[in-house]
Homo-oligomer: 452 residues x 2
Amino acid sequence: MCETSNTNGAANGTNGASNGTANIGGDHQGANFRSNPYQPVGDFLSNVGRFKIIESTLREGEQFANAYFDTETKIKIAKALDDFGVDYIELTSPAASEQSRRDCEAICKLGLKAKILTHVRCDMRDAKIAVETGVDGLDVVIGTSSFLREHSHGKDMAYIEKTAIEVIEYIKSKGLEVRFSSEDSFRSDLVDLLSLYRAVDKVGVHRVGIADTVGCASPRQVYDLVRTLRGVVSCDIETHFHDDTGCSIANAYCALEAGATHIDTSVLGIGERNGITPLGGLMARMVVTSPEYVKGKYKLHKLKELEDLVAEAVEINTPFNNPITGFCAFTHKAGIHAKAILNNPSTYEILNPADFGLTRYVHFASRLTGWNAVKTRVGQLGLEMTDDQVKEVTAKIKALADVRPIAIDDADSIIRSFHLNLHEGPIETQSNGKAIHVEVRGDETTELATGA
Amino acid sequence: MCETSNTNGAANGTNGASNGTANIGGDHQGANFRSNPYQPVGDFLSNVGRFKIIESTLREGEQFANAYFDTETKIKIAKALDDFGVDYIELTSPAASEQSRRDCEAICKLGLKAKILTHVRCDMRDAKIAVETGVDGLDVVIGTSSFLREHSHGKDMAYIEKTAIEVIEYIKSKGLEVRFSSEDSFRSDLVDLLSLYRAVDKVGVHRVGIADTVGCASPRQVYDLVRTLRGVVSCDIETHFHDDTGCSIANAYCALEAGATHIDTSVLGIGERNGITPLGGLMARMVVTSPEYVKGKYKLHKLKELEDLVAEAVEINTPFNNPITGFCAFTHKAGIHAKAILNNPSTYEILNPADFGLTRYVHFASRLTGWNAVKTRVGQLGLEMTDDQVKEVTAKIKALADVRPIAIDDADSIIRSFHLNLHEGPIETQSNGKAIHVEVRGDETTELATGA
């Protein structure tokens, strides 16, 4: 069931550098990286080039403190996720409330391409309610850590295994897909966990799940556990990572390297506490590693729209530092960076903003600017200067930026005033006086008026 | 120079679970985790229990799109970082601008406990300006990737090595600490990199630096590269990770596991593009692994204040999902979570909010609530009900929450009305009618009025 050959990685010799910017100096990159041993070689265990997304904004995301999704919002989000290209959409258990049940039924009737799952406790009553909703499959969960066995449900491993098999066989008898997962897998006894998963694998469960419910796992722990499990079960392996210690994206990546097949995500990572692996952050990580697979499968240019939809629904702002869509994710400021970016964006970018329908900015109105960024701006203003003259005006811009924050139009004024003195005559201008960033998309250089 | 024995890990058998919540059921945790092979054993390479922080909010952070720090703000931030307990404070190059130079001098005169570094290009002119400022050390950097060699400075490896040695020897002759780092280490030729670092190690550089300048590295790549370098040089190893693909915290952790000694951070991760390893996120990761070291060394309860100071200075909001200080980092919502958290916070928390001077919330006014959370609330309201009665009123709360978002006072009204009907008399109340969250700190349960 789980094919683990990394076709993408093997075919392209992909690594952290063969990326979304491959259209710029792609051959050169390839030549460079072949000389670096720190790239994945053909790794038959790794699924970084062939993974599936179980999108849980409508389940895990509903557990986010601010989330209240009415039926209309749920449907809008489900359609947007389906359009983006996720493989599965996971919904809150229909046993949670009457409206949850009705919403589950409504989403099943939408006829989406994505498979619809619901997430239920390992309990026959919940399973029976769920199979009646029209879902394609059930994600069954029970806590296996001693914490949860003692403080939550109070059941022993023998009972868990017996119940698990009953529930799995019931769901399969209804012709539905079934996943069985522990909660808090990284604080569960390893031998108990492997015994349980081997037992459910034998009765034909479609996936087993590893869940870092408290967000304690570190990347190499994840690799080790998934790698071990990969040798024990033949079914697919789903993984679920909370972000309490900021490792949810990295842990998902290491799980795929170790042979996991499915990753749970939510839009912007919303979920219990500070949430889980964010869909957008995972896309950033995976498009760098497996550009063809990711760009061929997911509509990356719809990512921002999808994030905006969810952010509005739960009344949050996209974090300033969000991968890809954070407001400054493609803004370059230091002079040394700006110079190189203007020569070749791959120098300081591993992601190509154009892949996401976004643009990059080179910020030049600061004390950290360099003359190469200013030279580009001089050209955009339609002015002519020698390199020495550009260096002289750069010093003037840096001097003003030392005293107070300056907007782009301040910098433009300095450039124009300097140019005027050089030529003692009226100057041409293409600017309307608004603050302007230098925008560079691919090989083009254009201007964009912004509010500074 | 670099002692790599992980005293903390060895002494405590620490892992992802021996954490800030050790005061709650600590012995039990220990017993449980010893049975799980997925914990670090005594790993003499790992520095997860003895690392140093090079705090770069005033250098990398100044490259953040929104950052403009005047002298007063820089001093305020430097003092707050020093008070928090960081080992080093890194400042923008004094060669960047005249004000940068004066600010560097001013901060050196503050007499802070932290060592003051400045970050300069590998260029004798920059180094000469820097040594005059009174700093304790220089962080010297040059790009070694073929991208940067071609599109940025245009120099070959022989020239880089010669210049590096000159600059390092000059700085050492002035009695200062010196680090030498490549930029974009993960897209540099490995053999070039190791040759260069071996050469600078031989002339007595204090630290070499590995920098993921574009944010392309993945955790196991980091481990491999740092592990290899650890075998080549005897000096300390500093690491610097950008967050473009969301792995900056995980990469820092894996670097420490592989023998790195110093981690670069900035407050909230501010820096070029979407920034670098955030100080707070790193604290979250490390306090889980090495609670005694981290809690003994850093004033964790000052973290929020420090983040608020920087967020205000650069006009950003703390991300909703920020580790530790995100508004919902310690909020529990699903009924099954709330129940267990009320029994024992370790069930669904790997971090103890009290370590950071923060509190947890159990959210019970939603359709996902469970009767255990409601039972606690009933007790807080000073009411008495049987478990069956609590289950009945829980159903009523879930029914209302199904129809519209409800505040805590809505839930309280339902509980009171239900109780009134039971007893047909006036009810006691401790609430002032404002929305109230259930707040649980350690073993105490108190109330906190909030705006819902």
